[in-house]
Subunit: 287 residues, 4 copies
Amino acid sequence: MSVNRKPYQLVSREWQPEDTIIDIGGTKIGGANFAIIAGPCAIENEQQVSTICDFLAKCGVRMVRGGAFKPRSSPYAFQGLKEEGLVLLKQAADKNQQKIVSEVMEVATIPIVAKYADVLQVGTRNMQNYPLLKALGKIDKPVLLKRGMSSTIEEWLLAAEYILSGGNKQVILCERGIRTFNNDTRNTLDLGSLALVKTLTHLPVIADPSQGTGVRDLVIPLSKAAMAAGSDGLIVEIHNHPENALSDGEQSLYFDQFKTLLEQIKAYARLEHRNIQLSSNTEDISV
Amino acid sequence: MSVNRKPYQLVSREWQPEDTIIDIGGTKIGGANFAIIAGPCAIENEQQVSTICDFLAKCGVRMVRGGAFKPRSSPYAFQGLKEEGLVLLKQAADKNQQKIVSEVMEVATIPIVAKYADVLQVGTRNMQNYPLLKALGKIDKPVLLKRGMSSTIEEWLLAAEYILSGGNKQVILCERGIRTFNNDTRNTLDLGSLALVKTLTHLPVIADPSQGTGVRDLVIPLSKAAMAAGSDGLIVEIHNHPENALSDGEQSLYFDQFKTLLEQIKAYARLEHRNIQLSSNTEDISV
Amino acid sequence: MSVNRKPYQLVSREWQPEDTIIDIGGTKIGGANFAIIAGPCAIENEQQVSTICDFLAKCGVRMVRGGAFKPRSSPYAFQGLKEEGLVLLKQAADKNQQKIVSEVMEVATIPIVAKYADVLQVGTRNMQNYPLLKALGKIDKPVLLKRGMSSTIEEWLLAAEYILSGGNKQVILCERGIRTFNNDTRNTLDLGSLALVKTLTHLPVIADPSQGTGVRDLVIPLSKAAMAAGSDGLIVEIHNHPENALSDGEQSLYFDQFKTLLEQIKAYARLEHRNIQLSSNTEDISV
Amino acid sequence: MSVNRKPYQLVSREWQPEDTIIDIGGTKIGGANFAIIAGPCAIENEQQVSTICDFLAKCGVRMVRGGAFKPRSSPYAFQGLKEEGLVLLKQAADKNQQKIVSEVMEVATIPIVAKYADVLQVGTRNMQNYPLLKALGKIDKPVLLKRGMSSTIEEWLLAAEYILSGGNKQVILCERGIRTFNNDTRNTLDLGSLALVKTLTHLPVIADPSQGTGVRDLVIPLSKAAMAAGSDGLIVEIHNHPENALSDGEQSLYFDQFKTLLEQIKAYARLEHRNIQLSSNTEDISV
């Protein structure tokens, strides 16, 4: 740490100038690759998760998200289906050869989540849960590290440094919006920080326009804006019946909106020379 | 106001569903049109402003910005050349058939600024300077209304309502970044609010990625992101010698960067079917 | 400015170690003195303002506040009675030998406000209205400079520096709450900054717990907290019928609450050896 | 939850109107009682911790704090002495009949921390660590729940609700400053929220002026302000050699400052009729 005056080291561009590219069963994130991760906020039941995964497969989406262990502000809110939910998501994803991203909330459930998920997500409330970060530094699966809702870039990169310094080099950062005085949107998607952090670290950085805005109709423009700002991918919430979703329905895309999103983001990818990570035989998403 | 439960009226989409298009000597802002405004933060001297305006003319830029009356945090900082600066900018712009955007800080100097400028800018510190807004409601020139650095969308639209209710319908909104806990960038460019406000108002909305980030190297990615999010234009700071600029040098583009910005933003405009407002005979900016 | 590395000078403790004490017709602010300013948010009519001023006189309050030129977010909201309001306030105050604090929003109305008011208030939205600050630097009346709602301490002190560098040394700073993510209170009264700014400047600093919280029932505890943190006074909103107030009724004290506030703040003043500025013959406020 | 429209229940004043009073080996927090907790940020070595605890004992302080498991932004920063630190703190505290407050960062170390500490602290970064909160709902020791640095009051009370709904009714809330645009102080101590939350919940609420300001010289004024605003106690950092402290030295009080703090806070307690929880035979702290 003597030469490098930044408080972080392993995550820095000085330590590794070239982009880290993470390969998740053939789907790549980082470098020229642009990943699309989509799925429901929470896994609710077999029918919901299979309907969504099947639809996403037809769209060419190879990575699905779905929460089984849910951090909820209220102890009385739906807390997720836990392992049962992961089983459902795994069945639905396997049928479509899709990879899974799911949140892990504590050290004790890492083995359960890792049994089903291909990428373990750390949520915004846990970005500075250091025991969790240390434990994730010891596993051999990629970690999706969401930015804390009031985290500086330095704190965010230091959180990643916890994982890398533990031995796990596969960290994907995710800008998901910060908390500001502005309540017109749920959070303030901070694309300036996304662009800046890309210059500071070799790790891939993706954006969550669903959490970042909290408004369904803002997801498409902000998804495109994220790619324009340099994002390496998107994680997006989608639901077969958003109005009945058990959580975050108002920010979940309808199926038709998701198709529109993909069409537009593909055009952006061509312009930006990004290799969008979708199944090649599904370029036509007129499903 | 009885039916419309929003506190603003004339600026709302309910009042006027179709986009307002503002025509500044042939350059249009709003609707499918996408405007590029560029220039130095402050007008410093004849040589500086003519060099920059000439360069911008070669790039096809038809609207130039430059501050003559500068709101500075310190009474001991350079306060601008005042009317002398406007004379210099007018000479440089006239030579190139360019239109002028310049800031007005008080009611008393509206006649002076309006004598030279085609668009009068209200800065972030004056967004709730109601006597100024009321006076600008009585002039017949467009007003560029920057968002207050801690302003909600409702406050911003109500500030525009002050101008429209005075009789001046030509208001261009400008998202220029909000003040948040995040100091890694000078401000936090709030593209979620930009996208949202476009759904609420018929007025054109542009972005200022220079103020919005404070970092030169973030201007290109955030300019593209702003267009992707739905912006109707950009206002960008540029300088022939940024390192010697009297203000905001670190966020002013070099000439070469500006050319790169234009190349990329033109490609984005084609993709988004936006009619970029540049002189047609200068599509080739290999000046 | 060569030795002093702070960007401000005249307002600094380095420039003047001893506290500035401002004398408003015998009522002092600064040093050991603690001032109480109270009155309605807006002057509404003769009966309202005289009722309130008479009550305050019985309580010993020698400085009354009341807005005649009101900065309102909406152009359709009550904008104040303007000069007519100042006439009413002046009549009510003169009857009770009270001094007047009232807001000035623009250079053009300084003469009108200064004709009636003993202290000219600059509101939070105008803290960086530099033409206004410069003009106030040329008058010979005290200025009450409210902190901008998203202003740093440096920006606040530089705003005061504008006034002092113009020649007017009589500036009273006022912490009135900052805008944060927290919307449970209208603003976040920043008593840490109040305590800090007292170490940096010799100017008196008072607190506005009404604006600072927006909640009537929080005014008493926060008033005491402000004195504990080192405030040199309070500016408090009170109304004879808060539920019918034309503005800010929910944060205006009832008369009985104000009496309780005074009782408690007097006890605090004795403890802190502060010379509370109330008419001596009204120590007993069992009016 | 049908009648009560607030999302929390057990923590609310509607559920329990009277103040919860928590008894920690004879030291009470809540109701008329006012608790003083003090100690170093981190336990560093035997000499440091015994010196500090002995000094605090002479001052009458019956509850000491000291971090053994430290949440640090950087993986390369001192992480605390862990159980060894708790052993040292326990020895020093036992000698003086003092009770211990120490932070627990994860479910797995609850038994270790609970073995030595009388109150388990949840830090600001873990306020929404729900597995930790649930586990703390099952123990029979008091929990000191710090407010998340960007937490709303509702989120804070819901975090407490997690603990109460698990069966543990002994929760002490702690306002420790929020993260705002203002960086002149480390955090913004939000005494308005402290006063407000006292009206919403029956749980005791204390303040941390050390974390809340980050500046040693602001601790005394903000401690008094916290009591004035209705706080039920203080948790303060102190060090025998602040300039050599391994963490947070700049906000740690010198011994002499702590004596001044106690003197002043005792006077405030008399004024506010608060029963300050100090050893009665040490009213004279001229140690």
